[in-house]
């Protein structure tokens, strides 16, 4: 088979620029984990059903397993590593810890990023809106109740701040 050449691309991940050579058949997930060693982003189903590979592209949650790295050049990518600032957890992460919304932790990066994107768009979502927003993220441990509680606690804060 003829060799497919790599493309030189610049990815902006968590506000840092990375110059890489990526073959066009590599997904954003593979590049994040294998090239940038940002292993917070997880792979589970690999076909867009489970949500564990969720990352934010321009603040919108997408599936990194179905996104080609070459397709998101020039866009702002945020992974779970990009949420905490100087070692301090982001309020969404804090809320997940405080409400025991984490058990095995495999869905957490995707779940937290989805929650972060929701709260950014709508600071005080209702329970229904929360459940709708995280419907693309599968959790096999918590039964979702604790996760919804965690996000709800932030939503209540959002309501008070308004």
């Amino acid at each position: 088979m003829k060799k497919i050449k790599g493309y030189s691309i610049t990815l902006t991940v968590n506000n840092e620029n990375y110059d890489l050579t990526a073959e066009p058949n590599r997904t954003l997930l593979e590049v994040l984990r294998d090239d940038l060693h940002l292993t917070g982003t997880k792979e589970s189903c690999g076909e867009g059903a489970c949500g564990s590979c969720t990352v934010l592209v321009d603040d919108q949650p997408v599936r990194s397993c179905l996104t080609l790295a070459v397709a998101v050049e020039g866009r702002h990518i945020t992974t779970i590593e990009g949420l905490s600032q100087g070692g301090a957890l982001h309020p969404v992460q804090d809320a997940f810890v405080a409400h025991h919304a984490i058990q095995c932790g495999f869905c957490s990066p995707g779940m937290i990023l989805t929650a972060y994107a929701l709260l950014k768009e709508n600071p005080s979502p209702t329970e229904e809106e929360i459940r709708r927003a995280i419907s693309g993220n599968v959790c096999r441990c918590t039964g979702y109740a604790k996760i919804v509680e965690a996000i709800k606690s932030l939503a209540d804060q959002g309501r008070q701040e308004r």
Binding site: P24, N25, R26, E47, G48, R63, A71, E128
Partner: protein
């Protein structure tokens, strides 16, 4: 994953020229279907032609109705208030496809060109009389969506052609449309059945002119009973059904039977029976044929009622359907 070359054209013409000059090439837009097929090794193209950077595909505009570019994502459709108000059925469908992560990248064009019998946006576009604008190497052409689907994963697109967008005509203000997706789970599921309806009614009586009078929490069935003497005549109607045959279809006999009649819940039940007789559902892992046929009767009636509800009551005052 097998290797392929990746191309990023910035105009429709460039994309079509590339498709014409390359062997074993495939268009990719959001990639939520194409990438899955590649990863499952059901598809192994030598070239992928990305449509993401073509600005001509990613716009919507009000132009003698409404035009939606092929590259518009489902999230963009859900967020559009004009579509919510005037083409509600499409908004219903786009809001329930996959998950937020999928909707953020998956395009309307991809959903239609994949031509799955279960494509959620197909039924709404059928009832909204959508035309497909197709660009090819030599010319552009426009065909009705009804003629676009040929069978499972088969469309009227010829070699080298691509879909530029969809055009829907304007409808008068007494028009309401709905799409109902019947699933086992409330999210991330393919439909067992999808039913869309669009109804334009002629309003004879005076009472209905005052729409606020109906902003109660009463059900539409009760409101229709109350309006029985008012002669709400069905001026125009479309009913479309998904997952009931090899391609999304219109229930044309049912439409003909409703046209020009005074609407009532009882009549809708008869219409729904006719629609069910036009379907050829089959057994599948998601549902058996007899169940689908029975549910067509239930959902067709519901879709017609809800469409009329959307005409006689301002949408924001109808209690939204609870999802959970």
């Amino acid at each position: 994953m097998k290797g392929y070359e990746y191309h990023k054209p910035s105009t429709v013409k460039e994309a079509i020229d590339l498709m014409g000059s390359l062997e074993n090439a495939k268009f990719i837009a959001g990639g939520t279907d194409v990438m899955v097929l590649i990863r499952q090794k059901k598809l192994s193209p030598a070239h992928l032609i990305s449509l993401r950077n073509i600005s001509d595909l990613s716009f919507m505009e009000t132009a003698n109705g409404f035009f939606i570019g092929g590259g518009v994502t489902h999230s963009e459709i859900v967020g559009n208030e004009f579509i919510q108000k005037h083409y509600s059925a499409l908004s219903d469908a786009a809001g329930n496809i996959g998950s937020k992560q999928i909707r953020n990248v998956a395009t309307l064009c991809g959903n239609i060109c994949n031509a799955a019998p279960s494509a959620d946006s197909a039924c709404p576009l059928l009832v909204l009389d959508a035309k497909v604008l197709i660009a090819g190497p030599d010319k552009e052409r426009e065909i009705a969506l009804d003629d676009f689907f040929l069978g499972p994963n088969r469309t009227a697109l010829e070699k080298g052609e691509m879909v530029k967008g969809f055009h829907m005509p304007p409808f008068n203000e007494n028009t309401g449309s709905t799409y109902i997706k019947h699933t086992r789970r409330a999210a991330m599921d393919l439909p067992i059945l999808g039913i869309a309806a669009r109804v334009t009614i002629k309003i004879g009586g005076s009472q209905i002119g005052c729409k606020d009078a109906f902003c109660t929490i009463d059900t539409i069935s009760n409101i229709l009973k109350h309006l029985e003497g008012e002669d709400l005549v069905c001026e125009d109607v479309r009913i479309a059904m998904g997952v009931v045959s090899p391609k999304p279809i219109r229930a044309k006999k049912a439409e003909a039977a409703l046209l020009g009649k005074v609407v009532s819940e009882k009549l809708f039940e008869e219409i729904a029976e006719i629609a069910a007789s036009e379907a050829q559902p089959r057994d599948s892992i998601r549902g058996e044929a007899w169940y689908r046929r029975d549910m067509i009767k239930v959902l067709t009636k519901r879709a017609l009622l809800k469409s009329i509800d959307r005409v006689i009551r301002p949408d924001d005052l109808i209690h939204p359907d609870r999802l959970w």
